[in-house]
């Protein structure tokens, strides 16, 4: 009991702080989505913004677009990050330089990555120039149009480029500490390297992997800058629509933007709920180990 109260005491400052600020801010944002915007004399609560949102013919397409770009970039980034960090950790060399290099993309804001990717992937961009330079391509007309299209490739590339090294950084310490001890034990018991990866490494890395994946997904699903600059006009990603409505000189559009934001929050919460459900089951198992 004493241990519990001590624990509660330790967590209280952070919990109160975050709960206070976030819940307050979110509550006000939700209020605004229901039409409460006293600054422009809108004080009646109404469902009309949500009605407009759900009646919108582009809602589903936008949702799918946001979801698609977020999930593909996250899965690819996390998957490749896992494989790459495993490769480095199980290698003989320490590769300190690589470790440091992987930390760099974390320090680069997304919109800067957008500029880089734009200059890389347009038909007259640097990848194309490289291919022409080494003779694989005869003119830039032969290079495909990758950006600003409904394929979402530009958006996926940007988020992937951030997710990949981030995952590597996050997993590195976990993998490093697993390696030595369990490796010897499992080899002793006759497991192949592949079996070792799937039955030992993966389960141990899973909590970290999933947490990172969720964080990355939540961000790439709800952030507007990247799809605004590199994504398609039609369908617009959800957060882009929210951003455009919010920055419109017609202030009456802001509650509509908030409704979109609330919808995105609900979706992310739903996914988090799924994660919680799965992880508590895993934890209960661990707790009883």
């Amino acid at each position: 009991m004493k241990k519990q109260t001590k624990a509660i005491l330790y967590t209280m400052p952070a919990v109160i702080f975050i709960a206070g600020t976030i819940l307050l801010g979110t509550f006000l944002a939700i209020l605004q989505s229901f039409g409460y915007f006293p600054e422009i004399n809108l004080t009646k609560l109404t469902l009309k913004y949500y009605q407009e949102l759900f009646k919108s013919p582009t809602l589903v397409k936008s949702l799918v677009y946001s979801f698609k770009t977020a999930i593909i970039s996250t899965l690819l980034g996390v998957g490749c990050g896992l494989v790459a960090s495993y490769a480095i950790v199980t290698g003989p060399k320490e590769h300190k330089f690589i470790k440091r290099m992987m930390a760099l993309p974390v320090a680069i804001p997304h919109i800067i990555v957008v500029t880089i990717v734009f200059n890389l992937l347009i038909r007259t961009g640097f990848i194309s120039r490289l291919l022409i330079g080494i003779g694989l391509l005869s003119s830039f007309q032969d290079f495909p149009n990758l950006l600003l299209t409904s394929s979402g490739i530009g958006v996926i590339v940007v988020y992937f480029w951030k997710a990949f090294p981030y995952t590597m950084m996050v997993l590195y310490s976990v993998l490093k500490s697993i390696d030595k001890r369990y490796n010897y034990v499992s080899r002793n018991l006759g497991a192949t390297r592949l079996q070792f990866f799937f039955y030992v490494v993966l389960p141990l890395a899973k909590p970290m992997l999933i947490t990172s994946a969720l964080i990355l997904f939540a961000f790439s699903f709800s952030a507007y800058e990247v799809p605004y600059l590199l994504g398609a006009i039609v369908p617009k990603a959800l957060p882009v629509q929210a951003y455009i409505e919010y920055t419109s000189p017609i202030l009456e559009n802001r509650p509509y933007a908030m409704a979109i934001n609330v919808l995105m929050m609900i979706i992310t919460f739903f996914l988090m709920g799924v994660y919680q459900f799965v992880s508590t089951r895993v934890e209960r198992r661990r707790y009883y180990d």
Binding site: F140, N145, L147, L148, A232, I233, T247, P249
Partner: protein, 387 residues
């Protein structure tokens, strides 16, 4: 235990840092506006700041903030009746309407400014209406902009018909930023003016159906261009800067801008080739004036007036007009200037690859009422990019 002591130490440090603020209130004047162009910034940070310091002993502090963020801030402050931190706002069209109708601005003040009385033509419609909305002295003109097009061609297409012919002969080399980007929106409005004229919009009700039926010929024209456009007119650059990059790389044959001197700056920076040239597409292009306003809760209204007055002086307008500084056209009425003042104002003239100021000012469309613009943007979005 130690952790708790450490936490207390950190929190006290936090409080100490957070609460020591310098109070030099009446010595500073705060200018808030878009900060994305280093040249515009330098004009204020170096040239104007020096003048303000010398003449009025005021430190000019420039804060780069987008107008929508500024409006958010002002609205929030208004809600709780708080004193603000902004003295002068650099404001543009549709946002002026929003700011004024929400009672965020101080005024009228324009006629109080000595330089306004001296040099501004109060009867010029561009100084009376901002995007169709009456100014009534609540903002001061700052500079004049006009939509121009840039290409590497010696004889670029200058009408809507010849543009289409050019596109058919050279497919895939033309695009424009998608509305609601400021520039893309202006381009679309320009096409609208060229296809259906501008007069009908000046008192058109802000009704979706009315606007849409008025736009029918313009939409038809834009749709007819699609198959010959970059990415078949289904994808569009998101910003003007992206279009500039495509142009500089030769992927598209033209780019566009609101600052007629942008081309000379880009040539100077080695981004555009020296033979880049401006031209007008159509009979005329859209021109507008951009303005300066004072928020109602400005901390230092007198300083704000001093700054704006200074920006309306002949010296400041001349400096601003210099293509190596900013290249933004002056708002002063030539009829009200002496010969010397006129000479001073025009000493640098327009830059390389540009059109003369006369050509621009004689071929200018006014901006339409602000509330029509979002409707047009919405219609464009629904009708043009998708199949």
């Amino acid at each position: 235990m130690k952790k708790i002591i450490l936490s207390i130490l950190m929190v006290s440090l936090l409080l100490v840092v957070g609460c020591t603020e310098k109070t030099e209130a009446n010595k500073e004047v705060y200018f808030y506006g878009w900060g994305g162009d280093p040249r515009i910034n330098s004009y204020l940070d170096e040239d104007i700041a020096a003048v303000m310091k010398e003449k009025h002993d005021l430190t000019l502090v420039r804060v780069g903030m987008n107008i929508d963020e500024i409006l958010t801030k002002l609205l929030g402050e208004k809600a709780v009746d708080a004193e603000g931190t902004i003295d002068v706002v650099w404001i543009n069209g549709e946002n002026f309407h929003t700011a004024k109708s929400n009672d965020l601005l101080f005024g009228p003040f324009l006629e109080d400014l000595p330089n306004a009385q001296k040099y501004i033509n109060f009867d010029d419609p561009e100084n009376q209406y901002d995007f169709g909305y009456a100014i009534e002295g609540y903002e001061a003109p700052y500079g004049k902009a006009q939509l121009v097009f840039t290409s590497y061609l010696e004889t670029p297409p200058t009408s809507l018909e010849t543009l289409k012919e050019y596109l058919i002969a050279h497919p895939g080399q033309f695009t424009y930023p998608a509305p609601p980007d400021f520039l893309g929106s202006a381009f679309v409005r320009n096409i609208i003016y060229e296809t259906v004229g501008y007069e009908i919009f000046m008192d058109m009700p802000a009704d979706y159906e009315v606007v849409k039926s008025a736009l029918a010929p313009s939409l038809d024209y834009l749709k007819s261009l699609k198959p010959y456009m970059w990415q078949n007119g289904e994808a569009y650059p998101a910003t003007r800067e992206q279009l500039d990059t495509l142009f500089a790389n030769g992927e598209v044959f033209l780019t566009m801008t609101y600052n007629p001197n942008h081309v000379s700056d880009r040539i100077d920076a080695g981004v555009f080739e020296p033979h880049a040239q401006n031209f007008l597409l159509g009979n005329k292009t859209i021109g507008n004036t951009h303005f300066l306003a004072i928020p109602k809760n400005a901390p230092n209204i007198e300083a704000a007036k001093l700054l704006i007055n200074e920006l309306l002086s002949v010296e400041s307008q001349a400096k601003k007009f210099d293509p190596t500084v900013w290249g933004d056209m002056p708002v002063l009425d030539n009829n009200k200037l002496t010969d010397e003042e006129q000479k001073l104002l025009n000493v640098s003239g327009m830059g390389v690859g540009t059109l003369s100021q006369e050509t621009l000012l004689n071929n200018r469309y006014p901006e339409m009422p602000a509330d029509l613009v979002p409707i047009i943007e919405q219609i464009w979005l629904e009708e043009i990019p998708s199949n």
